[in-house]
């Protein structure tokens, strides 16, 4: 187990009287990929948005860089080394891919820039506007930005949803590279097979809370998780 770099605890959030999260938690360990799995509407994205300061919780705390706060902003967390990639929403409409990298490297340096562009195979996309890219290309560019930024904590929401297997492989490799650089990578999604293969730690979001299931192999042994989330398919063991 690596040191915990980021933790959101006791998170609760209601929208118009409907409780989405009652007491959820999310955390990231250095050098590990942690994945939050759960059904649609189970509050995964809400928990991610709260954890990165885009949305404020009704209750709960965020612990990062030795500070524990009830309310944080993404800008503050980002200055401390966190990066948030929303599902296909990181890139700005109307701006070129190159403009995104220029902005990022002007702020955080270009140490990992070439490696990021090469490993995600986005050289040919650099002068294209982000709004003409396909979903898979947008996610590859987002993953390349994360790789170039090399944050201490990366929160990336549903990185493998709706993209081709080859793109999934490239994005997955980028996330593994970040973990190997001792970043805490926290992700979510529905593509259970790909995410179980990619992750080190599995959390399950259900009934307004999140459950620690351990390694992917341990998660596959969890009867309730298999019955209520994975279903009766062939899951290997």
């Amino acid at each position: 187990m690596g040191p915990v770099l980021f933790r959101a605890e006791g998170i609760g959030k209601s929208f118009g009287g409907r409780t989405v999260l009652s007491s959820a938690a999310l955390w990231g360990e250095a050098g590990r990929i942690t994945t939050l799995l759960g059904r649609n509407g189970s509050g995964k994205t809400t928990l991610f948005r709260i954890a990165c300061g885009v949305l404020w919780a009704d209750h709960g705390v965020i612990a990062f860089n030795g500070e524990v706060r009830e309310r944080v902003t993404l800008a503050r967390l980002a200055r401390g080394g966190l990066m948030y990639v929303p599902q296909n929403q990181l890139l700005c409409r109307g701006r070129s891919v190159r403009a995104h990298f220029s902005a990022l490297t002007s702020r955080f340096g270009a140490e990992h820039l070439e490696e990021a562009i090469e490993s995600l195979r986005i050289e040919s996309l650099m002068d294209r506007r982000s709004d003409v890219l396909s979903g898979g290309e947008r996610m590859r560019v987002s993953a390349a930005l994360a790789l170039a930024r090399s944050p201490s904590v990366l929160l990336i929401d549903e990185p493998l949803v709706g993209i081709a297997p080859l793109d999934q492989e490239l994005v997955g490799k980028a996330l593994r590279t970040l973990a190997e650089r001792s970043s805490a990578v926290i992700t979510s999604g529905h593509d259970a097979r790909a995410l179980l293969a990619l992750s080190d730690i599995i959390l399950w979001s259900a009934a307004g809370t999140s459950h620690y299931l351990g390694s992917p192999a341990e998660a596959l042994q969890h009867h309730q998780f298999r019955r209520e989330y994975l279903g009766p398919g062939d899951w290997g063991n």
Binding site: A75, L90, C92, R93, A99, R107
Partner: protein, 106 residues
């Protein structure tokens, strides 16, 4: 200027958005004032109350446009907070008011 201020292309587009919305509002309020028999140049004169509501309106419009273009999350990932953007917009609106005041005084 500001630590973690927006990088230049983003800064430029915030300035352009601010100029356009501010100029439109200042011109429109002065033009509408003529219906109440307030001379056009008098309608352009500085008023603290008008400065406050125009700055608030400009900030609202710029934030909405940043959101529409998904620039808010990207800028936040660069460490740029909404407060810093609000500070920049207020500074710009104040600067434009000063230039307008200087121009009117001739």
């Amino acid at each position: 200027m500001l630590t973690f201020s927006p990088p230049s292309p983003f800064l430029g587009s915030i300035v352009v958005r601010t100029v356009l919305v501010w100029a439109f509002l200042r011109f429109m309020t002065a033009a509408l004032g003529t219906f109440a028999e307030i001379p056009f140049l008098e309608g352009l004169a500085f008023s603290p109350l008008r400065f406050l509501w125009i700055t608030a309106f400009v900030a609202g419009a710029v934030f909405a446009d940043l959101r529409l273009h998904r620039e808010n999350v990207f800028l936040a990932n660069l460490g740029v907070s909404l407060w810093q953007i609000l500070g920049l917009i207020t500074l710009l609106c104040g600067g434009f008011e000063f230039l307008l005041w200087a121009w009117i005084r001739g």
